[in-house]
């Protein structure tokens, strides 16, 4: 009794010391703090069209030639219009281009640009702005990564220019007149329209860029907008504010007056800020999902990003197709997404994600048409594994598994190890390494099993399937199939103008890749769990480029 009294006293003392310490700043801050809270919740309602968001990192660059990450593409997409934009269903809708004509062989596009589009400094947006921007992106002096990546093999001569073998002016893009842009492609590219919505293809105002020089895109006032919003403030590391661009050609359809963005890195902090009304949306990590799952603010955002196990076929064991099939079958994917990920991610059963592309005629989803190419079935796994062991003449096998070093990745990899070791005589050694190390070992093909992932760069099955071509720059599995190469190459050349036949090739190729040749063991298609205030309306989710479209977003019922 006496002892507990003493403890209580000490605790009280500690608390009072502590409160005394902070009382200095108490008055001013609590007053302001509660004041702004009231404004937020009680407020003027829908007259105030302000969206408050958070991003997990600062914008690395607002220079569209140099951008490589989602945050940059998000805010480039919100402040700039390319030839086309992506609409609610990820189809191309007019941006700076009103429409276009395509030559019969599909290699020449002539875009007719609108005449009322202006930069935020008053200059008109012209065909020259696109020519300059695209040339700059592939110019080796620029040092762009995404320029060559997006344009090589698509825009005529891009590859030769990027490697310094040809003059920049030879790039297949010309301004016929102020409002007519002609683009020459290497070959017919059926997904070219959606590609023009991507950040790397955004126009640049040459005069402005050159006038700003090294300072270009470094600060809010060193940026030009030709899109729905323009930068008002950019405090590096802390956040930024974009406001409605009154000079935008479609300004009448933009309802938000302002978007406030703060950099918030910690999930728990994001949730706290969301609950205190500071931000309107926040991402949730799996440990928060159960707490908020039943909330009306809870959402699952599906993404077309796939995760899978790469199996190096240059190794003895994994060169055996039965061994690879055993690994495909052995993993219980439903258990994995339910227990380990717990964020709405779905089991993946192929190598083209669900809800990503639909058939040109029937409109059916690719995944629906090709079905579950890889299923989870322990019995079949064991059968294949037995066969593999006989063929290899081995009783026990050890495989190294290269995984990520984040907490989620470690849990996931432990689960996969556990699942795979259900196969008799197989032991899996998990090696958790940083991303950079995994990449290096992937390039050198110095691995056996590897957890890898891929997100799309344009809306076409090709972005997932051309990876596994024999000479594919990112293949690194040792997979070399003439038949597979033929299907994919044919789809991109002879059949480029025949959407349905092309589609058939992709379906067959995927089946060959996953079912017959068992090149990869699919794991899951990623989803993101998040909280969003119910008064946020009209935000579209995009499968590539900018994650969200805010052009048509508005606040209602706040």
């Amino acid at each position: 009794m006496k002892k507990s009294n003493w403890l209580l006293l000490v605790l009280t003392l500690a608390l009072s010391m502590f409160l005394a310490a902070c009382s200095g700043g108490d008055d001013s801050s609590s007053g302001e703090g509660s004041g702004s809270d009231k404004e937020g919740s009680g407020g003027e309602g829908d007259k105030e069209q302000v969206l408050s968001l958070s991003e997990s990192a600062d914008i690395p660059t607002m220079d569209s030639s140099m951008a490589t990450d989602t945050v940059a593409f998000q805010w480039l997409g919100s402040t700039k219009d390319g030839l086309y934009r992506l609409d609610e269903d990820a189809q191309a809708e007019p941006g700076i281009a009103k429409d276009h004509e395509m030559s019969e062989d599909g290699t020449t596009y002539t875009f007719n640009l609108r005449e009322d589009a202006k930069w935020s400094n008053g200059d008109p947006v012209t065909a020259e702005d696109f020519v300059y921007a695209w040339q700059r992106a592939v110019n080796p002096d620029t040092g762009s990564e995404y320029g060559p990546y997006m344009m090589n093999g698509v825009i005529k001569n891009a590859e030769a220019i990027a490697s310094g073998e040809m003059e920049v002016s030879e790039l297949g893009v010309t301004a016929k007149d102020e409002h007519t842009l002609e683009v020459q492609l290497e070959q017919a590219t059926p997904y070219f329209e959606s590609l023009t919505a991507f950040g790397t293809f955004l126009p640049l105002n040459q005069d402005f860029v050159e006038e700003q020089g090294d300072n270009y895109a470094q600060e809010a006032d060193a940026l030009l907008s030709n899109g729905p919003f323009k930068f008002e403030e950019w405090n590096h590391g802390e956040g930024w504010t974009v406001v409605k661009n009154e000079d935008y050609w479609d300004a009448e359809n933009v309802k938000l007056d302002k978007i406030d963005v703060n950099v918030v890195k910690d999930t728990a902090t994001g949730v706290n800020l969301f609950n205190s009304g500071e931000i309107d949306r926040t991402g949730l990590s799996s440990e928060f999902v159960d707490e908020y799952r039943s909330s009306e603010e809870f959402q699952i955002k599906d993404e077309p990003t796939l995760f899978y196990i790469k199996m190096n076929q240059e190794g003895e064991v994994l060169s055996n197709v039965n061994a690879r099939k055993a690994i495909q079958y052995a993993i219980d994917r439903q258990g994995m997404v339910d227990v380990i990920l717990n964020n709405g991610s779905k089991p993946s059963t192929g190598q083209v994600p669900e809800n990503f592309v639909s058939h040109p005629e029937s409109g059916k989803d690719f995944r629906e048409l090709n079905g579950d190419l890889v299923t989870s079935d322990l019995e079949k796994a064991k059968e294949h594994w037995k066969k593999a062991k006989e063929e290899l003449g081995k009783d026990s096998v050890e495989l190294e598994y290269l995984g990520g070093d984040t907490e989620v990745a470690k849990n996931l990899d432990a689960y996969i190890k556990d699942q795979l070791e259900q196969l008799e005589g197989l032991s899996v050694k998990v090696n958790s390494v940083p991303f950079e190390v995994r990449l290096e070992r992937d390039t050198n093909m110095n691995y056996q099993l590897q957890n890898a992932g891929w997100g799309p760069d344009y809306i076409d099955p090709n972005t997932f399937l051309n990876l596994w071509l024999t000479d594919g720059g990112n293949n690194h599995t040792g997979y070399a199939s003439e038949e597979y190469d033929k299907l994919i190459n044919e789809a991109n050349t002879d059949l480029a103008q025949d959407p349905e036949a092309r589609w058939e090739n992709f379906l067959k190729a995927e089946e060959l890749l996953m079912k017959e040749d068992a090149v990869l063991a699919p794991l899951y298609q990623r989803s993101v769990a998040q909280l969003q205030k119910p008064y946020v309306k009209g935000v579209y989710v995009n499968p590539m480029g900018a994650d969200y479209t805010y052009k048509y977003a508005y606040i209602e019922g706040k």
């Binding site: 003493w6 006293l9 000490v10 003392l13 500690a14 010391m17 502590f18 310490a21 902070c22 700043g25 108490d26 001013s28 801050s29 609590s30 302001e32 703090g33 600062d58 690395p60 660059t61 220079d63 490589t68 990450d69 080796p140 002096d141 620029t142 040092g143 762009s144 990564e145 060559p148 990546y149 090589n152 990027a162 490697s163 090294d214 470094q218 405090n235 590096h236 590391g237 802390e238 956040g239 703060n262 950099v263 918030v264 890195k265 910690d266 728990a268 902090t269 706290n272 800020l273 205190s276 500071e278 991303f435 950079e436 990449l439 290096e440 992937d442 390039t443 760069d457 720059g473 990112n474």
Partner: protein
């Protein structure tokens, strides 16, 4: 004195150069490249981009170029924040970290020293136990736990202070408190031990015998003598507080340097790694110099020029 300081400054430069050299070569041992889309580019494409930044040159050439730039005050351009000057980034990010570091150091030291003093004066009393309790808590609870508790109760639940973000002075209160708990604990512990020792010495007994009252003795004679070890620890602590802490910065969304430093290592942003390391080293060496000078001020028995 002036000669002593000049001498120290020369050593400082040599130390910095050594640090720059070591860091440069160690950093190049990190796997990977500064490219952000390395997983999408072929090796040939990567080589073309790296060429532009001079990263295909032999290492000694790169080193020479960097050191030459350094002597001209050029820390180079960042990779992850495309073409942004390292100096600009350091200046932007140091502000918040320094503010929090300085505030928490001052607050922490004052409270810690007071607690330690009280504990020594009321030795073995309730105040002593209370102060020891706080010191133990402060030292053993990780700052991020404390930060989380502060954020939830003072921020979300009671709405007294802003939850997080960085939009004015009131936004510094919670992170400052979270950071201050450690210096409080350290200062209180050392102060108590030192003070007890000093209070037990003969000259204090003499002073008391001459009729100086208890508090007079403590503040006039005791404090000065007990401060030496505190200053010794507080120096390095000051640097570590002012150079930012990843965890606290992330929890309170502070745009500080700590987070930036870690990220630059993860993304192989060589110029930022170099710039930040050199800046931190400079701060550290500077603080050590200041502390050495302070010793002489506080305790005249320590003479700087004696060695000459």
């Amino acid at each position: 004195m002036v000669r002593y300081i000049l001498e120290r400054l020369v050593y400082m430069l040599i130390t910095l150069l050594l640090i720059a050299t070591l860091t440069f070569f160690l950093m190049k041992l990190l796997p990977g490249t500064p490219l952000s889309a390395a997983d999408k580019l072929s090796e040939e494409q990567q080589a073309i981009v790296l060429e532009k930044y001079g990263l295909n040159d032999p290492l000694p050439v790169q080193y020479f170029n960097y050191i030459t730039g350094l002597f001209q005050g050029d820390l180079g351009l960042s990779f992850q924040f495309d073409n942004r000057e390292v100096t600009t980034i350091l200046l932007e990010r140091m502000g918040p970290s320094m503010t929090l570091g300085a505030q928490s150091l001052i607050l922490g030291t004052i409270i810690g020293v007071l607690l330690g003093l009280l504990a020594a004066i009321y030795h073995n009393g309730v105040v002593d136990y209370g102060s020891t309790f706080i010191a133990v808590i402060g030292k053993s609870i990780p700052s991020f736990v404390f930060a989380g508790i502060l954020q939830f109760y003072l921020g979300v639940r009671w709405g007294l202070f802003p939850v997080a973000l960085w939009e004015g002075w009131e936004y510094t209160i919670l992170p400052t408190l979270a950071l201050a708990i450690f210096p409080i604990a350290i200062a209180a512990r050392y102060m108590r031990t030192e003070m007890l020792e000093v209070l037990g010495s003969d000259f204090i007994t003499t002073a008391r015998a001459k009729g100086v009252n208890k508090f007079g003795v403590v503040f006039k004679h005791g404090l000065r003598n007990a401060l030496i070890p505190i200053i010794t620890i507080m120096g390095p602590l000051a640097v570590s507080l002012m150079t930012g802490t990843l965890v606290i910065e992330n929890i309170f969304s502070v745009p500080g340097i700590g987070e930036q430093f870690v990220k630059s290592i993860n993304t192989n942003d060589y110029p930022i790694i170099m710039g930040t390391t050199l800046f931190f080293s400079f701060l550290f060496i500077l603080i050590i110099l200041i502390i050495d000078l302070l010793y002489g001020l506080i305790d005249p028995r320590i003479r700087l020029t004696e060695g000459d």
